[in-house]
Symmetry: C2
Subunit: 193 residues, 2 copies
DNA sequence: CGCGACGTTGATTTGCCTCAACGATTGTGG
DNA sequence: CCACAATCGTTGAGGCAAATCAACGTCGCG
């Protein structure tokens, strides 16, 4: 499937948008391709875009004060992604965004996006709803973290996102779940259930 | 200050809205007053509104599987509040929303709010931005939790929100910071710094 | 005044981390 | 195509931060 069709399909979940409007909007995006391990954004730089993943797998992580990588997000095909505080407040990001597989994204800058909102008012509503859903997802995710111990975090995560278990190395899953790789290994060996 | 003026002041931070538009929008809200300890929302019920706090102090919490209250949010005057997943997906909330002081709120339902978006298109943008800022706040908050140990969480929280330290009992602060009340007490006694 | 809500203190326990060593697998250059 | 290094996962010993449990002091309110 072509990138434009993927984007169209995604946006049409939120509102009835004509092919003409999609064409118009799509022109504001830039397609970029990254090889496995390449950085889409490096810490210290400002995140100037929102990204729509058309192909591949991405992680977002920062380096904590002990020097360990902490993964805060993954994203795959048809996921929307940005580093919100860096993007909106135009401040340097403390996080890295990195392709974990060969990856293709569509990116759009804040100013282009705001322009599109003015040109195609319908989009204002679409992105309000996207943002609302994003918020729901993050709030659920926080509750998930707070309420479970490490073993249950792993069990819930692996049944909710079997794709990631397949495609992401175990130590990165561990980092995302706030567990050391050693301890995750121990969790899996006990009670294979 | 009257409730309408407070709301107007809040909304005008996001866009230039006329007094006429504010009047129109304000009619869609309902004012409700709660005594200390009363529930604005109980677990098991669906959260049908977004709330704007004009006076008082509120907490959001749920009961975990060990029977302990876990506080996930506080809100005071001029904060916007809802339980997103319950509100948008119209499913029962697992959380309680409770007034910790005598509290006054303005509430608006999802359908009234969506109607207002159609009547006053400018509001669509205002609420997109409010939602974006909400998202930024939550993402920052998650990073805050992940990167600090209990002592630093307390120190950062108490310097960032001295109001809450004054107005909220210590065991609730502890709950919000994911610390037991006993341990928070120990943190404070050592190294008064 | 008496009771319940709140905070404190100390002893014990525990979930998870740290550190170190060691297989298994992958991939890369000679 | 093999040899070797790097990457990744596993295992175990020891340690630590924070939870649990229990007891007690204090304050404010009905």
């Amino acid at each position: 499937m072509k990138a434009k069709e993927q984007l169209a399909l995604y946006l049409k979940r939120y509102a009835d948008i004509s092919t003409l409007e999609i064409d118009d909007f799509y022109k504001q995006f830039e397609e970029r391709k990254f090889k496995k391990s390449e950085y889409i954004l490096e810490a210290g730089k400002t995140c100037k875009h929102q990204y729509f993943v058309t192909n591949g797998l991405i992680r977002v992580f920062y380096i904590d004060n002990k020097g360990n990588e902490k993964i805060t997000q993954f994203a795959i095909e048809h996921w929307w992604l940005t580093h919100w505080s860096s993007y909106k407040e135009e401040i340097p990001s403390k996080s890295y965004i990195q392709a974990l597989e060969d990856t293709t994204i569509l990116q759009i800058s804040n100013s282009e996006l705001e322009k599109s909102f003015s040109n195609i008012p319908k989009l204002e509503r679409v992105f309000r709803k996207i943002t609302e859903n994003w918020l729901i997802a993050i709030q659920k995710h926080s509750e998930f973290y707070l309420s479970l111990d490490s073993k249950n975090r792993y069990q819930q995560f692996s049944s909710a996102f079997p794709d990631f278990i397949q495609r992401v190395p175990q130590y990165m899953i561990a980092s995302y779940l706030e567990i050391t790789p050693e301890h995750l290994s121990a969790i899996k060996s006990k009670h294979v259930s």
